[in-house]
Amino acid sequence: MNIDVRSITRSFGAFRALNDVSLNIREGELVALLGPSGSGKTTLLRIIAGLETIDAGCEGSIAFDGHDVTDRPAGKRGVGFVFQHYALFRHMTVFENVAFPLRVRKKKHRPVEAEIQRRVQELLDLVQLGGLAKRFPAQLSGGQRQRIALARALAVEPRVLLLDEPFGALDAQVRQELRSWLRRLHDEIHVTSVLVTHDQEEALEVADRIVVMNKGRIEQVGSPEEVFHHPATEFVMEFLGQVNVFHGRIGDGVARLGEMTIDYPSYPHAEERAATFYMRPHELDILRTANGPGQLAAQVVRMNPAGSSAKVTLQTREGTPIIVELPLDRYRELSLQRNEYVFVQSRAARVFLPDASSEALPDYAI
């Protein structure tokens, strides 16, 4: 189902949870709403579900396949909703939980008992928990409970599935498993899905498209590749993945970062101004000897080679921390010592000018 969110504003007292947000979600895709807490992502999801209203004076609207549903109650929108803390009915068995949406239907739409039995068993098999029908929610693990919650949400045959931090309450390992399982399930049933998460890794791994949100606004919408490699704003740059941030000045085609000067032809204006430089840890390299002005002298503070790459923390003379990620063989080749002075070289950097932060200058190799 196609979801069209148009100019939605929602305030809680003086706090603007959503500020004039518009978004289009296409039929069959899995979209992740990603952002820190307080960014408005959950509010947006709840408004799509009908659990939350938009501001009284707000002209915005929500449309499903072109039909305005702004004033339609949650139960009549045909959405499935999965809560962070499962929201299973504790006094009902797993079977009764999943059967609930079928049993509360109006008499003429209610399936007969045999049909309910069949449908519930089918859904439990779909979430691979067919044998647990008689258990109570308290007897299940967190991962199992969330899968039951998902089966229950699917029992209404939703045209859209909304998931509010569905793996937020689970252990790292279970979360990883469920994540790839959810992706496979989505490829199987193709129901339009919106997933709220604050975990960038989760969003990057699962979603077809990512909506990065901050302070009640959408910062960027794009594929995982787009938002990670071509962040539109400083916020997206900083929120997705680790990044080194430097504050310097730019003017006359030259950028200055402390003692370091870098050619920067895309800003030829004579007037010098402040700029922020972003470099990903894996885009940096460490050299023993300087071979030009592009390098920054820094002292090794900490080394952590546990993982698929080695993380080295350094400090410039001004005290700015730098994180460098080196391939393990490169790390072994260097055999760095603590407190040693080295030079940091950048293969790529992004520059944002503060008062025009929305337009990123093209990536520039130093």
Binding site: F89, F100, A138
Partner: protein
């Protein structure tokens, strides 16, 4: 051997456990067993005769029926009061909250006199109810009102924390799954509150069975019609028939015990099931 002790950072298990047993014995168990000892002064035939006497049987029926009805009335209206106090914010909320405790705090004789004054033929309420054919004071209805009055705080105070702890998301889930408000209330909210509701019901019921002070004023104490069991015990004592009084007391005690035990068993079954037992 039963393992009584588990390691704890706070010492003092022996002394606190010893104190608990001693205190409970002195305050509860010894007086209760004295009751049975006293009653055993009667022969079995005398005992049966005392406790199955027509007037006594009528008093049991009256006491248990009115107590049960009062507990039911409290379950419904106490639920509404507790729900309102937890879920809504309104001016005067703290005052109403304090008023709920009044029946706890007031001497029962005071409430008895007050209720009688209001519901008697010339009272504020009585003067309007009497012409409609509704007799409250000196009738079983009055007993129910007095019992409901003293039992109300039990229901409200046990339900309040349970309503507070209700899973709001479960209600939202029900709504989104297509349940209407009545269905959500009957199928989700009520079952979740059942253990607390039963506890409050049992406490209110037990209190009503034992109630004396407020009931004797409003009931009128007409033998066979508005005479509660507690009053019979007192009048037997007045006639220095201690053994007879204790015999009736024993029956009351056992009956209350059975009722409370049943309610507790049901409650245990409900909460144990949803907590993960089999």
């Amino acid at each position: 051997m039963l393992a009584f002790r588990k390691y704890s950072v706070l010492p003092g298990f022996r002394i606190t456990f010893g104190f608990t047993v001693t205190y409970l014995s002195l305050m509860v168990l010894i007086p209760l067993s004295a009751l049975f000892v006293k009653a055993s002064g009667l022969t079995w035939t005398q005992f049966l005769e005392t406790v199955t006497n027509a007037r006594v049987m009528a008093s049991y029926r009256l006491t248990f029926a009115t107590a049960l009805l009062a507990a039911c009335v409290n379950a419904v209206f106490g639920f509404i009061v507790a729900w309102t106090l937890v879920r809504y914010r309104f001016p005067g909320k703290r005052l109403i909250d304090a008023v709920v405790d009044l029946p706890f705090a007031m001497p029962t004789a005071v409430s008895g006199i007050a209720l009688t004054a209001i519901y008697s033929k010339n009272g504020w309420m009585g003067q309007y109810l009497e012409p409609l054919g509704i007799k409250v004071a000196f009738a079983p209805l009055g007993i129910i009102i007095a019992m409901a009055f003293v039992g109300l705080p039990f229901i409200v105070r046990t339900l309040e924390p349970a309503i507070q702890d209700l899973d709001k998301e479960a209600e939202e889930a029900a709504a989104i799954l297509g349940a209407n408000r009545l269905q959500t209330f009957l199928r989700i909210i009520i079952p979740s509150l059942m253990p607390a509701l039963l506890t409050g019901f049992a406490q209110s019921f037990a209190r009503a069975i034992g109630e004396y002070g407020s009931v004797v004023f409003i009931s009128g104490n007409m033998p066979m019609r508005t005479e509660i069991s507690s009053l019979l015990i007192v009048s037997k004592l007045d006639q220095h028939d201690t053994a007879g009084a204790t015999a009736i007391a024993c029956v009351l005690l056992v009956a209350s015990f059975v009722v409370l035990g049943t309610v507790n068993a049901v409650q245990w079954y409900i909460s144990h099931r949803s907590r993960g037992g089999n």
